[in-house]
Symmetry: C2
């Protein structure tokens, strides 16, 4: 097999892999094929496959079309999977803009916002509010770490939705939150 043939074969395989796992990084691909990251980038360019960040965004926008209770630009993170009324997954790449200066630890408010907006996204209601949240930070999160949030509706009672959200860094749990959301149509002021 000459170089030309090798390349065609590799690119066809590359296309297949990215299709089945759109969140694979160029580094992981380079590792898989035992070639340089630079070559992977050139392959992607030739094949017209956008870079990881762009692929994530495309999936997120597509997924978001199903969401009812929150608009896209208010969502904290990128929505990568969702079954309305059931569960959802989002990711958030943390950076220096999200940390407390003193501790260099990502502010609780950002992790909270990621979890709260994920919970809202799952709810099958035109609008909803947070009523209660019980949350636990298991370990500090540092800038550069990628947060993966998994949310699930565990119970629905009348206009109340009980949603659990777990957030992980490299499969390690860093946060868990139990939210009770109230759909707004029936929500009355006290």
């Amino acid at each position: 097999m000459n170089n030309r043939e090798k390349k065609v074969q590799r690119q066809s395989k590359l296309q297949e892999i990215i299709k089945s796992n759109p969140f694979i990084t160029d580094e992981e691909l380079a590792d898989k094929f035992k070639i340089s990251v630079q070559t992977i980038r050139l392959d992607r360019l030739e094949l017209g496959i956008p870079e990881l960040r762009e692929r994530i965004k495309n999936v997120a926008e597509d997924k978001f079309s199903k969401v009812k209770a929150i608009v896209g630009r208010e969502f904290v993170g990128e929505l990568i999977d969702i079954t309305i009324g059931k569960n959802a997954i989002s990711i958030l790449d943390t950076d220096d803009s999200l940390v407390f200066e003193k501790t260099k630890v990502v502010k609780g408010q950002h992790i909270y916002a990621m979890a709260e907006t994920l919970a809202l996204a799952i709810v099958d209601a035109k609008a909803a509010l947070t009523g209660v949240a019980n949350i636990k930070y298991k370990r500090p999160v540092y800038a550069g770490e990628r947060l993966v949030a998994k949310g699930e509706i565990v119970r629905t009672r009348g206009n109340k939705f009980f949603v659990w959200v777990f957030i992980y860094v490299n499969q390690q749990e860093v946060f868990r939150g139990k939210f009770i959301l109230v759909s707004i149509d029936e929500c009355k002021e006290e």
Copy 2:
């Protein structure tokens, strides 16, 4: 007593009142003196007393000099009273930039951030993290409402601080949160 004398007397009284209550509004002052808001403004101008927003900021900056665990620009709201290691009060004037588009209700994440940063400010430690938060939103908050947050350390155990934060609009409770903060010097990753 001629007009000139009346004015001097009023301005002296005005100065006294604002000194003892720097957060009184021009409207409240006008009411008290039974004169127009415009006259109050002119009086303040002549006396060199800054407007309410400016006065709040001045007090907040002064109060902040005592805070250890968080830097001023990271604080959500204005700190208007604090006894380090004990309790503190902050205010936040909400506006349209803080609400969810769908519900026009102030996002939980902002109220949460106000409460979390107030809790951090009270703690007598160089740096601290949120470990646990149990929070309850009692009624929706709408843009334009002024939030007044009161925080108090209810218990300290080793490097853990148990802080309660209550947030009010016109004396009505809209939020309550119990936080457990961990001072960072002794905080270990799990």
